[in-house]
Symmetry: C2
Subunit: 157 residues, 2 copies
C-alpha cells in the first residue's frame, strides 16, 4: 500500500513497494507565460526563448522552450509521483533531442528500470515527448526511503 | 572579438573564438519566493521544497531548494554567457551531491574542457557551489555556431 502524504496530488512509494516496470507521468501545455517565468526564476534569459526576432534568425525559426524546463517536469514526476515525496534525487542525465515549441503539451514520463536493494536506490528512464516526438531522453538515480523511514517522514500532526 | 547580442547582459561566442579553459559563472541567492515560483512553473510541488513540517521530518531537517533549480542556473550560464545565445544545448549530466538551503547564494560555473571542431561542439564541466561546498557537478554538450552563422543570428534590424 503506497504511503500517501496528506496532499492528494502527491503519491509516495517506499523502496519495498517499488517494482521494475512501474511508471508515472506529468503533462502540461507550456505557455509563453511559463517560459517567461522560467527565464525569470532561473536567470536563463537567452533570447532564443524570449525574443521572436532573434529566434526567427536561428535554425529553430521561432521561440522555443528552455530545454531545462522539460527537466523540471521530470523532476516533478520524480518528486511528486514516482517514487514521490521522501525520495532523494541523486542524479539525472539529459539529452535534448528535439525542440519544444511554445504551446506544445509536454508529457514527462519515468519508468523504473533497475533497483539496488543494498543501497535503496532506483534507476529510472526519463523522457519527455510532444505527441509522438521524443524531445528529451535520459535517466535518473534516486535514493528511496524504506517503509519505516517513509512512515516517519509522512507522519502528520 | 565576441559577437555581442544587443542586450548587454548577454555574451555570445562563435565556435572559432572558443578556447579550452574559458569559464563563466552566474550567481544568485535563492529565496523562498524563487523556490515557490520554480515549483509553480515546473509542477514540482514536492513538500520537501515547500512544507517546513514535512521537510523537518526528512534527513535534511528543513526545506531545501529543488536540485533542478541549480540545473536551471547552469542553463543560464550556457545560454547567456558561455557560449551564449546562438548555441544549442545538446545534453547535460547532473549529480546532486549536497543540498541547497533557502537563502544560500548558488554559484553556477562552466569550464570549457573539450572542443570537437568537425562538429562545432563543445564540452563543458558544469558545477554549482554554495561557498566552498560543491552541490551539483556534471557536464554539458553544446553545438556552437560558426562566426558566419552567429553573425546572421545576431544581426539586428
Amino acid at each position: 500500500m503506497p504511503q500517501t502524504y496528506s496532499d492528494e496530488r502527491l503519491t509516495s512509494y517506499c523502496f519495498e513497494e517499488l517494482e521494475l516496470g512501474m511508471q508515472a507521468e506529468y503533462r502540461r501545455p507550456v505557455t509563453e507565460v511559463d517560459v517567461a517565468q522560467f527565464a525569470d526564476v532561473s536567470g536563463d534569459i537567452n533570447p532564443l526563448h524570449l525574443d521572436p526576432d532573434f529566434a526567427a534568425r536561428t535554425m529553430f525559426g521561432e521561440k522555443i522552450v528552455h530545454g531545462m524546463y522539460g527537466a523540471g517536469m521530470i523532476s516533478a514526476v520524480i518528486g511528486t509521483r514516482l517514487p514521490g515525496p521522501g525520495c532523494v534525487y541523486l542524479g539525472q542525465s539529459l539529452r535534448f533531442v528535439a525542440p519544444v515549441h511554445i504551446g506544445d503539451e509536454v508529457v514527462a514520463s519515468v519508468l523504473l528500470v533497475e533497483l539496488f536493494p543494498e543501497k535503496h536506490r532506483a534507476r529510472l528512464e526519463t523522457q519527455c515527448h510532444v505527441g509522438e516526438i521524443l524531445v528529451i531522453t535520459g535517466e535518473a538515480l534516486v535514493l528511496v526511503p524504506t517503509g519505516a523511514e517513509l512512515e516517519t517522514i509522512s507522519a502528520t500532526g
